[in-house]
């Protein structure tokens, strides 16, 4: 590395001490609680206030907790179904918005963005009112009782998929589609061999996004789940109300790990394909 001299330039923020300190403070503020949560999941103490030595027994205890595992299973089922459905819906919506011009397109685009910006609490309440009105809340047995939660999750996550896939499609060269047809491919073959492979990173990223959103959603799930259908975040919330034991920490750590993993995969798939250099 060549040695740089003189005053730091405006963009050389890593060379200014106060900016570095600011950065460190930000990271501390954002991640310290999470780090402490993870550390204390290994704490050998019932009250979990002071460190009393390393143990993994609360992980074992969490796994042995039947209602926690049930909640976890519910979460996985909800996440799986809502991810599949919202990925398909979102991709189709993205393609329609990208490809066609139709009356009311702007309205559709706006309506699409609505679930992203609308406060979750409003969405939760409105879904609750709606589901009670049509008789979908309560009085049905598992797993059908998960239906309102699944519908709620699909409703708020497919717009995210649509946004991600749409962004990917903006970079699509229409002549690829024409070239495919010119070479003898039908509309379906073109979709399968050219358009879908092109959209794939967007679709996968959107799906992972939908999955993380669904897995850790609390507000909408809280309103739309019945008394017997508890998901993981809600279960943890109810456990915390009886005291934050390391068991809660352990369960949360698992959730953090899953979310983190999915986010990393989503981000890696979303990095745009580097523009091919000409010559």
């Amino acid at each position: 590395m060549a040695e740089r001299r003189g005053a730091p330039g405006p963009l050389e923020y890593t060379r200014r001490l106060w900016l570095r300190a600011w950065l460190a403070a930000t990271f501390l503020f954002l991640y310290a609680p999470i780090v402490i949560l993870v550390i204390f999941s290994f704490n050998d103490s019932r009250r979990n206030i002071v460190w009393r030595g390393f143990t993994t027994k609360y992980y074992a205890k969490a796994i042995a907790n039947a209602s926690l595992i049930e909640a976890f299973t519910n979460s996985l089922i909800v996440a799986f179904i809502s991810t599949v459905v919202s990925t398909i819906l979102g991709t189709l919506l993205a393609m329609a918005l990208w490809r066609f011009r139709f009356p009311g397109k702007a309205a559709v685009e706006g309506a699409n963005a609505l679930p992203i910006v609308i406060p979750e609490i409003c969405m939760g309440v409105s879904l609750l009112v709606f589901f009670s009105r049509i008789g979908l809340m309560g009085g049905i047995s598992w797993p059908v009782s998960l239906t309102p939660v699944v519908i709620g999750h699909i409703a708020f996550s497919f717009p995210f998929v649509a946004v991600v896939v749409r962004a990917r499609l903006e970079g699509f060269d229409r002549s690829l589609e024409e070239a495919s047809k010119d070479l003898g491919a039908s509309e379906w073959q073109t979709l399968r061999h050219v358009l879908i492979p092109f959209m794939k990173p967007g679709i996968v990223a959107g799906a992972l996004l939908a999955m993380t959103l669904s897995l850790d959603d609390f507000v909408i799930t809280f309103f739309t789940s019945g008394p017997e259908t508890i998901t993981f975040p809600i279960k943890i919330y109810s456990m915390v109300r009886f005291g934050a034991t390391p068991e809660v920490n352990a369960a949360s750590t698992v959730l953090i790990a899953i979310t983190l993993l999915l986010t990393v995969i989503a981000m890696r798939l979303q990095t745009p394909v580097r523009e091919e250099e000409t010559r």
Binding site: S175, E178, A179, D182, H193, V273, R274, E276
Partner: protein, 360 residues
């Protein structure tokens, strides 16, 4: 050479809104031709090409390819393949997959695909690159993939949309020769769209010059350059000195015209246009001398305004009575015999048989 043409375009018009991009165009493309559609940007040449490919439908008129009406035939069923300006090489497929794509989607059996892809790869000299991905290829290589991908389908017609515009000059000249070689090799009719006159002149066997949705002239390259019929064509192809002129009378051996700045001239032209508006002389047919006037009428006295040196030739701009003439002097020898300099008095002359009569 009486085989029916491979393409017949009959009174085709294409309107976008009220704007006619292609306006009542009729033309026939002979078999095995290297046919160039040449014109400034926005003249409708690409629209015409896209109608041949099937991506646009004519508003009026009809297109026949090998005698078959194309109106109801979608792009994927036409015996036509295209090389796109952006190459449109599929980024997620290897070179071999790209080339084999058109065979795969039409259900050609795998062993045959492999054989034909290998042939096509050899034809465009991409051996060793089969497993590469497009982002590992240069512009020229992508161009070859696009070519091979189209030719492997053995179309009746290969369409090329400004295929060389994205390449740098040296590579472009190489690809020009390559395209001509390929066309001879495969014996497929090529239709190329270009705005580059050098490209059209050096490659094509037939050139159609278009402007504002109409075809102005279809000729072989030499006639197009030496016998342009209209002012636009003369001006668009190469450089030219144009004098306003009008027809005086027609004789057995030629016509007499009144040329502004030159007076009365007899041009040995047997088939002059019905309405003559101008007389044109190419700059390389104009001679610049510094010695005194010689016998013969086609001589203009002037003063050298500017000299642009191009290595193999020099362009000399001469001011004559308010006219600015351009003359080309080929630098045949390393030693300049009669050096010219800006500001020198000079005489410009040309032979009457080198002059062309133009209509509007």
């Amino acid at each position: 050479m009486n085989a029916p043409p491979i393409v017949r375009i009959e009174q085709v018009t294409k309107r976008f809104g009220s704007f006619a991009a292609v306006d009542a165009v009729s033309l026939a493309i002979p078999r095995n031709a290297f046919f160039a559609l040449l014109g400034p940007s926005g003249c409708g040449k690409t629209t015409l090409l896209r109608m041949l490919a099937g991506f646009e439908q004519p508003s009026e008129g009809r297109i026949l390819i090998d005698g078959e009406e194309m109106a109801a035939v979608p792009p994927n069923r036409r015996p036509v393949n295209m090389v796109f300006q952006s190459y449109a090489v599929f980024p997620h497929m290897t070179v071999a997959e790209n080339i084999g794509y058109g065979l795969k989607v039409t259900g050609v059996p795998r062993p045959e695909i492999e054989r034909r892809v290998a042939e096509a790869v050899a034809m465009v000299r991409l051996q060793g690159f089969e497993e590469r991905r497009p982002d590992q290829l240069s512009g020229g290589q992508k161009q070859r993939v696009a070519l091979a991908r189209a030719l492997v389908k053995k179309p009746k017609l290969l369409l090329l949309d400004e295929p060389l515009s994205a390449l740098d000059r040296k590579l472009r000249e190489e690809m020009q020769l390559e395209l001509v070689r390929l066309q001879h090799e495969v014996g497929i009719t090529f239709v190329i769209v270009t705005h580059d006159q050098d490209e059209a002149l050096s490659m094509a066997t037939h050139i159609a010059v278009m402007n504002r949705g109409r075809i102005l002239q279809i000729s072989d390259p030499r006639s197009l350059y030496e016998r342009p019929r209209t002012r636009f064509v003369a001006d668009f192809i190469g450089q030219v000195n144009v004098f306003d002129a009008r027809l005086l009378d027609r004789g057995e051996t030629g016509v007499r015209v009144m040329v502004e700045g030159l007076g009365e001239i007899e041009v040995p032209e047997r088939e002059p246009p019905a309405e003559v508006v101008a007389l044109a002389v190419r700059p390389e047919k104009m001679e610049v001398r510094t010695e005194g006037p010689q016998a013969g009428p086609l001589q203009l006295a002037g003063r050298i305004g500017q000299i642009a040196y191009f290595g193999d030739h020099s362009r000399i701009f001469v001011e004559c009575d308010g006219l600015r003439l351009i003359c080309i002097r080929h630098n045949r020898s390393r030693i300049e015999e009669t050096p010219l300099a800006e500001g020198m008095a000079c005489y410009v002359s040309f032979r009457p048989e080198d002059a062309v009569l133009l209509s509007s």
